[in-house]
Symmetry: C2
Subunit: 78 residues, 2 copies
């Protein structure tokens, strides 16, 4: 199994993207971890280190995919 991480901040755009991504991704090959950066604030630095500049974003196979636009990381950090 490979890992995929979906970072979000609970925004409507995030919720919609989460539903789509967790539906289409092949769960037989990928473990998908959902991380709410508004709650798990200690993981903001980790997300930024992976190149996440806005949420929602999916990090998978070494790629960072920003999916639509909910909020910038600056807004997430408040």
């Amino acid at each position: 199994m490979k890992n995929a991480t979906f970072y979000h901040a609970g925004c409507p755009v995030c919720v919609s993207a989460e539903e789509s991504i967790t539906t289409v991704i092949d769960r037989d090959r990928y473990d998908v971890e959902i991380v709410h950066l508004g709650e798990a604030r200690e993981r903001i630095a980790e997300a930024e280190s992976k190149g996440v500049v806005s949420v929602p974003a999916l990090v998978v196979d070494g790629q960072t995919l920003h999916i639509n636009f909910g909020a910038s990381m600056e807004n997430v950090k408040g």
Copy 2:
């Protein structure tokens, strides 16, 4: 099988996103059509009607997911 459509314009961001999306998506449940709007210009209106405002974008399950940013549809239309 459900259909998913990946619209792109051949840009580097598009190619990278295409690799990621076509890798992670569950091919047992989704038929993925790749549409190069720079070549299939007759499908630009179709993409816009689905809410695509930039490429690359994935339309799946009634949702339009803009994945990173390669080019605006205005640029694609030239």
